[in-house]
Amino acid sequence: MRSDYQIILDLIPQNSKVLDIGCSDGELISLLANKQVSAQGVELNQEKVISCLGKGLDVIHGDINLMVEDFPYNQFDYCILTQTIQAVQKPDVLLNTLKKIGKNIIVSFNNSARLSKVARFLLSGSFDSLLKKADSDQWYNTDYIHPCSIKDFKKLAKDLNLKIISTFDVVNQKKFIDGKIPSNLFCKEVLFLLTNE
């Protein structure tokens, strides 16, 4: 199982209502459903939508950049964005909407300011290394249009009045306490639990 999924499964209590944005073929929502969590996904790729439906999962087909406004307010206990925030057109607009439709938001992403990444960028002189998702990705066709560091995200959360409840270093599955944040230079993947309260 992906390590960010493990953290999320531990975070979300039973009988919660969850919206997984960019749910792919439904792995996470199906894990959550097994835990008596009522989970719904949003997915753009129709093949993946079909795969979710075949597993008996609830999924809404559509572009998250356009459709989150269709969800009624205060519907979900948790909205989840795993490895998605860097691919949406306007992360601030999306987070603002999620704030209205759900109580808590879980965001995980790869830290673009990690030293090894930055070093590779400096040595190669190419942005490809910073923006890569798949091997075939180049700076002009990547989905990762918003590289963002842990520091960047903290600032955005503050600007949007989102309170950070906890943060995790995903690779090491390590929770940071007392408001501590994983290192902007060394942490590869980070997960934030935020609340609108």
Binding site: Q46, L53, G56, L57, D58, I60, H61, G62, D70, Q75
Partner: protein, 374 residues
């Protein structure tokens, strides 16, 4: 008293009900019958039954060869052995709607009170009335819970009405190219069609059968108007462009010059042979009156407690029941906290896409049915 017999006029069965049916209008129909057809086998647990609700001009023969058109049934691509609604697995029921003209009680039947043809004395019916009659059929077949209720267009209205009115009796719902309520534009098109029928001198205030006539011109123009709304601009352009019909030059007259004119006239004429004008009036009225939002709110607890699973489907080029209206269904179902899925299928063939060969649409529906737990 209710009893089921074979249908003497068409393949399938008749459920005759010697009882009065209380309609939304406050009026009653004192005797009525439901014509229906079934495909596949009902299993012992009676938990593999799927009800298909037909659209405005459909009938109870979605699969196999239609006894009416002698062509493939209107949803032959969707329903049958190894089709998305697989009749090897499911027991499929489809009935002609109340007010229809293929065996279920409608305006051209004899009014038992007067022993005359109802005509416009037939009470105005609603989608809810249609569904009420379907529920009687399902009860008579001793089916407690339908595995799914599936329909497109006017069929989608019935499907949503099922969830709203009989939430205890359905496990899942597939609404295809539908809406929560009929839009102003759709009411406008319906009214144009009705006026075309009612202004035909052969309509005789609805009593054309007694006069041995048929408002053929009116009904065929109504169909021409409606048919335009079922396609898309692109579908027309791709199919016909500005091609001329069997001629090289414009005629400078008002005969048929363009292929698209010939096509529309043919559609209108062919429709008159298989459909009844009064049924058309009653059924379009039922669609105009449709607005299910309030009842869904009213019964939201039951919808949630029964864990009904909804699949809402739309087509990109459908401008009669556009994606936006399907999203309104999704939004309402989400707001009550129900289990809802949605997919928009890319097609440039307009509203009629749900009746055509659209592989993505079939795969989405099939996938969803596969995921329903019995």
């Amino acid at each position: 008293m209710r009893n089921i017999t074979e249908n003497p006029d068409y393949p399938g069965y008749l459920l005759k009900c010697n009882e009065s049916l209380h309609l939304d209008s406050g009026k009653f129909i004192n005797e009525f019958q439901i014509a229906y057809q079934t495909y596949g086998k009902l299993n012992e647990q009676k938990d593999n039954a799927i009800l298909i609700c037909h659209a405005l001009t459909g009938d109870q023969f979605p699969a196999e060869e239609s006894p009416i058109t002698k062509k493939n049934g209107w949803w032959d691509l969707m329903v049958g052995p190894d089709r998305p609604i697989d009749t090897n697995k499911y027991f499929v029921i489809c009935s002609n709607v109340l007010g229809g003209c293929v065996g279920t009680t409608g305006p051209n039947d004899i009014n038992p009170e007067t022993s005359k043809i109802y005509g416009m004395d037939f009470p105005t019916i609603t989608i809810r009335d249609m569904v009420k009659v379907q529920k009687i059929l399902i009860d008579e077949l001793k089916i407690k819970k339908l595995l799914s209720v599936i329909g497109g267009s006017m069929g989608a209205m019935q499907v949503l009405q099922w969830a709203a009115t009989y939430p205890d009796s359905v496990k899942s719902i597939i609404s295809i190219a539908g809406s929560l309520k009929h839009s102003a534009q759709n009411i406008a098109f319906d009214e144009a069609g009705r006026q075309s029928i009612m202004l035909d001198p052969s309509w005789h205030n609805g009593h054309y059968i007694e006069k041995n006539e048929k408002p053929e011109n009116g009904l065929s123009v109504a169909r021409m108007i409606a048919h335009i709304t079922y396609l898309s601009e692109k579908a027309f352009q791709n199919k016909f462009g500005r091609n001329l019909q069997e001629k090289k030059d414009l005629s400078f007259g008002f005969g048929i010059d363009f292929q698209v004119e010939s096509y529309l006239r043919y559609q209108g004429r062919a429709f008159v042979d298989r459909f009844d004008a009064n049924s058309y009036l009653y059924m379009t009225r039922a669609m105009d009156y449709f607005d299910v939002s309030e009842e869904i709110h009213l019964n939201q607890e039951k919808i949630i407690n029964n864990e009904i699973r909804f699949l809402v489907l739309s087509f990109t080029s459908d401008w009669l029941f556009p994606t936006r209206e399907s999203k309104e269904i999704v939004s309402l179902l989400n707001s009550i906290g129900s289990n809802v899925s949605f997919a928009e299928v890319v097609s440039d063939r307009g509203h009629d896409s749900f009746l055509l060969d659209e592989p993505q649409f079939f795969r989405v529906s099939e996938g969803f049915l596969k995921g329903i737990k019995k």
